[in-house]
């Protein structure tokens, strides 16, 4: 038997081993375990703010850690920094490329980043008298789908070139490239301890990576189409994904498998975005059908809807104090709900 054939056989054996190990710990699932739990309260959230200012589809938004400011990115070629409390625009930053897909706020509040079909991640300093580009991170060979700052010196990106990368902002170079997905990487989420992150891709897989050694440690299956959104549960031991297959799923990291799915026979639109409430009990998932559905993360039941957008909900975000949920849409508006 040729060497490749031998290794293929070994690979098949390892896959069988992994599946058996997962089955062995699968003594229940989340819905069954939560059967006796009181249902989450029926959530009725009101629109508190409608932020108007973008002139085209909004593709991304991200809260600042101060729970007040947020950044949004639109195909009108602008990043807007909003004061969510007053509804005022603090900054409107013109983009070199209007084909933006992601925006991010640094935890310090000093920097924001954007990226998209230009294949680059551009980092801006908000604290200079006029907002200035401090670096253009240029090495991906595909579109930039997601970016997240670790701090003012390091940023993680996910790209349509199937890789994720950790960059040194000062040098503009990639410190680590995370290689293992076989489809466009669409989203990433950073763990609170910043030692790991999870990514979702068009190969329908979610992967957990060690930031320090660049290794893929775990791979999570279950979705049957592109994973567009991903978010950690507050403990960091689980994460939620949203997919073009119209479902969301929760994967537990320590049991290495899916523990519950969030789906409804009547829902046949893809999930574009998701965010969790502060306790992790509520999932706000944005869909192509213009709605944002609210799911009970433990029982798997749909418990509410945020309706109000006139086009696809493309992004959602909950600030770190959990005080509200923000939805952004192709209708060019952002809404704040609580």
């Amino acid at each position: 038997m040729g060497e490749v054939e031998k290794m293929k056989k070994e690979a098949e054996g390892l896959k069988t081993e992994i599946e058996a190990a997962r089955k062995a710990v699968h003594d229940t699932d989340m819905a069954a375990a939560a059967a006796g739990l009181a249902p989450a309260p029926r959530v009725q959230l009101k629109t508190r703010r409608t932020l108007k200012g973008h002139l085209a589809k909004i593709y991304a938004m991200h809260w600042c850690t101060d729970n007040k400011l947020m950044v949004s990115a639109s195909q009108d070629g602008k990043l807007i920094i909003w004061d969510s409390h007053s509804g005022n625009k603090i900054n409107a930053i013109p983009l070199k490329s209007s084909w933006v897909m992601t925006s991010a706020y640094a935890p310090s509040g000093n920097l924001v980043a954007s990226g998209g079909l230009d294949n680059m991640c551009t980092v801006y300093n908000l604290k200079t008298p006029v907002v200035k580009i401090i670096k253009e991170l240029d090495a991906h060979t595909g579109y930039l789908s997601c970016a997240r700052f670790l701090n003012d010196a390091d940023i993680l990106t996910a790209s349509g070139d199937t890789t994720c990368a950790l960059w040194d902002i000062e040098t503009g170079k990639q410190k680590t490239v995370f290689l293992n997905h076989i489809g466009d990487c669409m989203c990433l989420a950073l763990s609170t301890d910043m030692n790991t992150f999870v990514s979702g891709a068009c190969d329908s897989l979610a992967k957990l990576w060690d930031i320090r050694d660049g290794q893929c440690k775990q791979t999570f299956q279950g979705h049957t189409s592109d994973i567009n959104a991903i978010s950690f549960f507050p403990t960091g031991n689980a994460f939620i994904t949203g997919s073009d297959d119209c479902t969301c799923k929760m994967y537990d990291i320590r049991s290495d498998q899916e523990v519950i799915g969030y789906q409804d026979a009547q829902l046949n639109s893809g999930v574009t975005s998701l965010a969790l409430s502060m306790s992790g009990r509520l999932i706000f998932a944005g869909y192509d059908d213009f709605n944002c559905n609210i799911w009970d993360s433990l029982k798997g039941e749909k418990i509410g809807v945020l309706s109000g957008h006139d086009n696809r909900v493309s992004c959602t975000g909950v600030p770190s104090d959990g005080m509200c949920v923000c939805t952004g849409s192709w209708d060019s508006f952002l809404k704040i709900w609580n």
Binding site: E3, V4, M7, K8, E10, A11, E12, L14, K15, I18, A21, A24, V25, H26, D27, D29, M30, A33, A34, L37, A40, P41, V43, L45, R48, S84, H85, L117, Y143, G183, C202, S204, C216, K217, Q218, T219, Q221, D226, F233, P234, T235, N237, D252, R254, S255, D256, Q257, V259, M278, S279, G280, R281, L282, S297, L298, V318, G322, M323, C324, N338
Partner: protein
């Protein structure tokens, strides 16, 4: 023409993990095969905990933090920074 971000891309119609096939086609190189085996060895060596334990921990966290979650336990209107602003005009 407005480019569709994903529509023109060739989608993977088959999901190799479902069929048990390796994710690389049959003309895999020795290097690729070795990398695949190494990756699977890393993933196979992981120590998994029981789903019942994982679920219990998740439920405990939600329970412990429900009171502090403003979207589950609403804060009084006076503490909601997004409450409707009432404007008072004083006639001088």
């Amino acid at each position: 023409m407005v480019p569709q971000y994903k529509a023109e891309r060739l989608r993977l119609q088959q999901f190799p993990w479902m069929k048990g096939d390796s994710p690389v086609n049959s003309t895999m190189s020795v290097g690729q095969a070795r990398k695949l085996v190494e990756q699977l060895k890393i993933e196979a060596s992981f120590c998994r905990i029981k789903v019942s334990k994982a679920a219990a921990d998740l439920m405990a966290y939600c329970d412990a933090h429900a009171c502090e979650d403003p979207l589950i336990t609403p804060v009084p209107t006076s503490e909601n920074p997004f409450r409707e602003k009432k404007l008072f005009c004083a006639l001088l």
